[in-house]
Subunit: 229 residues, 2 copies
């Protein structure tokens, strides 16, 4: 089964790659440069793809940045510190981002005769990002089938194997699969070392801690939040 | 009501502009450069926007062209002649095109606090393009509401007023609204005068004929098909 997986260079989509390979998928990887400050993540996505000898395409959609300019991920405004379960994390929402990316991935899948697209959205994303929820995956699969009737295989799927799974369980799965953690990137701040205090750095540390797995990541700062256990 | 309308410079979306204005919509126009051979249509979209003093944004998504490279509209292959209701017109399908464009328009609408997006898809497009059918509009509206829950107005709509209406009736409506036909562009072939024989030129001529409206368009060639009446 040929599958187009969207990968960011982060923990979750890196585990997704190893997980789908272990299940026998033939993978074609796609990443997006959408003007994010942390585009260093793309070099991490490229590194893992190269290690595994998988085709990897980076799609440049920076032309859309001005359309999406209110998000702190793409504008001049600072990325907020703190936990995702907070009001200020709404500032990191890029409108309709996942739907745009997954729709482009679907076009790529059609052109390359793949029968699925895959995304690593997980249950911890639900609170703040509506386009990471199970209802979104269902609505997207329905849309793609309707929009491309006759051009997609009848069994076309949007795979989101972690949509009901928390990040610490993804981390545990990654440890089973020997995912090279130092070749993954999470920080939203745009530096060359993980800051340790933004929402994604906090999430990354929390996932390792909750999974009981040693975190090899160098961080610039101690977390602003306590160990949740 | 602020509405983001997708306009191509063609007959249908030009009538849509005049129609929505006549209904009191505050319009913000968006067009796409997706690497189409007939990008002359974009200058027509810009001309009508300027005449009406409406904001108009052309979004450059030519980076996606290689993803969509199998369509004759964006590749080196010739655009086929003939009627849309024919097998070879499938060659003009750009995979998932309308879904990608409408999803980008939705992001633009969210950023600009509009409460609707509008598209001029019509009943004559259904046969060959699945992403012009009523089921697509419904699936898209559902997806956008789910994907942007909390970031879109509760009454957000995807307006497709012509989805059940044939092109000749759109033409008749345009005549009522005094749409300047010479400022609209249909031909897919990429020349500077309408070729007269490609699918869209045939459709354009047919619409005027069926509506009983005099067609002021200069064409390079006589139609390859007879008057359908």
């Amino acid at each position: 089964m040929k599958t187009v997986a969207i990968v960011s260079g982060g923990m979750d989509s890196s585990v997704l790659i190893y997980d789908l390979l272990s299940q026998g998928h033939e993978l074609d990887l796609i990443s997006f440069n959408y003007g994010q400050k942390h585009k260093i993540e793309l070099t991490y996505a490229a590194k893992i793809s190269k290690q595994l000898s998988l085709p990897h395409t980076i799609v440049d959609i920076t032309n859309l940045t001005s359309l999406l300019s209110k998000s702190t991920l793409t504008s001049d405004a600072p990325v907020p510190d703190g936990h995702y379960a907070e009001e200020n994390m709404k500032l990191t929402v890029v409108p309709n981002r996942n739907s745009i990316m997954l729709n482009i991935a679907a076009a790529y899948a059609i052109t390359n005769e793949a029968s699925a697209i895959a995304t690593a959205v997980h249950s911890g994303d639900h609170f703040i990002y509506p386009d990471c929820r199970p209802a979104f995956i269902d609505a997207l699969e329905n849309l793609l089938r309707v929009a491309n009737d006759g051009f997609l295989p009848a069994d076309f799927q949007v795979l989101a194997p972690y949509v009901h799974i928390s990040k610490d369980r993804i981390c545990a799965r990654g440890a089973e699969l020997d995912v090279p953690w130092l070749d993954t990137w999470s920080c939203y701040k745009g530096g060359e070392t993980h800051c340790g205090s933004c929402g994604t750095c906090f999430e990354r540390r929390e996932a390792f801690t909750l999974a009981g797995i040693s975190d090899p990541t160098p961080y610039l700062a101690e977390p602003m939040y306590k160990d949740p256990r």
